[in-house]
Amino acid sequence: MLELQVTNSPFNQEQVELLNRLLPTLTDAQRIWLSGYIAAAAVTGSAVLGTPPIAAAVNAPAASPASTAPAAPKEVTVLYGSQTGNCGSLAKKVTKRLQDQGFEVKVSSMSDFKPNGLKKVENLLILVSTHGEGDPPDNAISFYEFLHSKRAPQLEGMPFSVLALGDTSYEFFCQTGKDFDKRLEELGGKRLVPRVDCDVDFDEPAAEWINSVASALAELTGAGAAAQAVPVTADTLLESTESEYSRTNPFQAEVLENINLNGRGSDRETRHLEISLEGSNLEYEPGDSLGIYPENHPRLVDELIEAMGWSGEESVPVNKNGDETTLREALLHHYEITVLTKPLLEKTAALISNGALNELLASGHDELRAYIEERDLLDLVQDYSLKGIPVREFVAILRKIPARLYSIASSLKASPDEVHVTVRTVRYENRGRERYGVCSVQLAERSESGSALPVYIQHNPNFKLPQNPDTPIIMIGPGTGVAPFRAFLSEREETGAEGKSWLFYGDQHFATDFLYQIEWQRWLKDGVLSRMDVAFSRDSDQKVYVQHRMLEKSRELYQWLQEGAVVYVCGDEKRMAHDVHSTLMTILQQEGGLSPEEAAEYMIRMQQEKRYQRDVY
């Protein structure tokens, strides 16, 4: 039966959705009865369509949770989805807070949640980050798609709230959180507290959301006593159990080794850093990431201070606790100056009367976007002659400098008390000035061995070696995407895992860009790595990438999938991960005879079974 849409029927969106949900469920007999009933009603001029019985019927039971007396402990379901694990950590916090208040809390990642249980959920909390161009993170995809499909149940009156994590420098800031928020409302949910959108510095707003959710739930259900529970603060938010060091209290780690992995003549520079964790009690597993708090480039800081006509010696606040430091120090270590965001521009415009800046803000979306994407704070200052803004006011509108996350390239078992990362240096020229990746250039130029870096461990439960050491693994990691696979193989070598392994690697040139070449060679020789295929895109006339090598080996690759291999993808999201995904789909169709739909389902199933894990950026 044709699916009804607003465009192909006389109904509005709500009606269309209701009808689309109802009609496919009808038996032939029901359908015939209904058409007669409606036709008869129309002929008799009855007002039956004015108060839709269908909607009313759905509505009735949904009102019950709020009105039922608080006899048994109230249930709250917490679902999270994130690429890096931040939402997972926050979910644990909110869970603990609610449990303290006497709630029964069911917490799980969206990928582990069975969608058919949604109907039974009493209170729903969603914590979700946004990825890339407004996309849901990997472990949220299937739930996101389910919820946005016509299979999603009506959730009339269900209390919910959304905490969205994002980055204001991206165009689709917190888009996935916004989508969930909107969709839950569409499905009839009742907003417990308004959605909170967090920028990269999420600790404070997230803590506020947790507290208001807890209070609202307590008030709504009468369960527990909100007053007895210790409110969550930004400082307690992410405290680690194993180590005193965390994202909010990074460890000053000594750089032991800093090597450029690219041979002479390469267009690229990739740093291999070996960093000491000795004395930190920090622990990690292969697949986790290392957070590094960078410092801004001193030259850029000085240029900015000069452009603003300041001295750098001015005292400015660095947090809300009243701590102060010199402007130069603050700009070096505390504030972000390399990324522009729309809120920053708006706040700037509020500080100074500047016609041109107001014009830019009022301009079309694309124009503003284009401006923001290609420029940093110094550009803004120069382009709009911002000299004259009082220094403390100016500093107050800046974001805290966020940590950079790098996939860990080592195994603690193989390198005790050490963590290794693989970082490609980002340098390019724009508008007559050399631009630097904040952290990567610091690591390349100002992090010689002996220097210290503020670091923490960011656990990533979504990128983990299989529990079973015999499970075959397929690793796809071109460029620096190969880093976690060095960790995987180091770990498997140490633990003596027997499972087969297959690595796909690629970069520009064999001679200079084959990261960790002699280590793969040794692992191949020792059997720790069973197979390796490489694609060097600039060594021949045809640009070959990892996905081409996968296709060349499609039969064996499919065989591995059939044997239960786990597929890992790490690296560039926009092109590589996308191409690899469609290549896997192609292989499933080509070698397994699946239809495109079946292949897509196969991939979703793999994702749910944690047999398709991605760490892409």
């Binding site: 070449q517 002699i518 280590e519 021949s540």
Partner: protein
Amino acid sequence: MSENNLMSPNSAPHSDVEDIKRRSNYLRGSLVETLKDPITGSIPEDDNRLMKHHGSYMQDDRDLRNERQKQKLEPAYQFMLRVRASGGVVTPQQWLMMDRISQKYGNGTIRLTTRQSFQLHGVLKWNLKNTIREVNESLLSTLAACGDVNRNVMCNPNPYESEIHSEVYDWATKLSAHLDPRSRAYYEIWLDEEKVVDSHDHDVEQEPIYGPVYLPRKFKIGMAIPPSNDVDVFSQDLGLIAIVEDGRLAGFNVSVGGGMGMTHGDPATYPQVGQVIGFCTPEQVIDLAEKTVTIQRDYGDRSVRKHARFKYTIDDRGIDWFIQELTARLGWELEPARPFHFESNGDRYGWVKGSNGKWHLTLFIQNGRIKDEEGYELMTGLREIAKVHTGDFRLTPNQNLVIGSVSSQKKKKITELVQQYGLTDGIHYSALRRNSMACVALPTCGLAMAESERYLPTLLGKIEPMLEEAGLREEEIVIRMTGCPNGCARPALAEIAFIGKAPGKYNMYLGGGFAGERLNKLYKENIGEAEILDSLKPIIFHYAKERRDGEHFGDFTIRAGYVKEVRSGQFFHA
């Protein structure tokens, strides 16, 4: 022939390389597979041994070795590809091909070698097949340019007596073709020829001269036309000295058992000069060469490679034994050697007119390296010449280049190009520099213990002021340097020689014969630049003051007692 027969003269166990060759199925090994292995730019050592017979061997950029090790990268593996042409004669089209592939696949330079071959350096494994294919498409080859077979047959590129040169050159080509390996492995691996099935059954048809394990070691043949001994005929395993009588080629004096290589610290190894054992006619020369090769095949030492050259076979068994064995295999006897006279082993630079009316220009190429440098576009200049040239190019045994067979009409155009690009006949260089020669050594040669090609020009620049001061700028003195004792630049025959021992350290030798007829002798061991200069200076001034009329530097150092005369390699270390 049976394998037992091969083994009979030497009962000691064979060296690894012998086993590799024997197992290789006529030089195939696992090359097809290992060339494809995408994880490494190298090939396994066994295949590298076989690869030499195909004209190439694996090297790495030693300048980068430590750096890359730290970077977790394998060494910068690359292949040296040697392209041979008998007598070093190529067409302008072939020159342009070499120029093109050196830019496309190599490091952008061409190296002319002391055996009149071309060397390309820096060819990556992935490019080997295309490179070799393009070489063959231009009718040159890399087959047997290295390895335990007969190497490129050298021939004096004599621009004077054109007819004699042409005739001797023809014999060089025929000799070369006759001694080529017959295995189809080369054509299968590089030129996609269909594989021969089960070739094990056809030993004799496969390699009628070499057999399945080829020679115990390389074998070298050179043909000299007196009075020039530019090919260093006494350094060859088999030297052939053209005897010209009444303006026609009467035949060749035969010299056997020369060779340069030795090992530091092993007095059982030594350079040797060949001994002239008789005379044969041109028509007999192929038979003579084949039988000589088979004697070395059957009697050469297959257990110790550094003792496997033909010179040791002869020295160990005696020259009389060899002549007897040769006569038995030939079924005829050599005639007594005929008189000949060598004047020098260097090149004569500049324009000369051959007896056929064609012009020849010998250019000075420092250490045989063809490349463009800031202010000296040698490679471009030669390319432009090749585009208009209708004669030939001849690589000299001293790593120089003859633009040969230039018609009177073309001479003007070529002279213009020579001037435009500042190409040189060496006239403004000291005579010492014009008579200098260095091997490749660092960074590509795996054997080098010290610099050579990159250092000799600098050292010459420091010796030249002494010569200037002593008034010897135009005195021809042969000076050679190698980075190791294997002898690619034939250092043991130079009047002054330096053989590398360690970075910046050389053994210094004096007393070689100016015409390449006598070995030199160790003068000082393991010395650096300062001591080299301090040692040389008094000898140079002594020579300037007390030399006799026409007395060469090497002869003088013996007469003045700096070193003893070496009459045979067996007394080289004495």
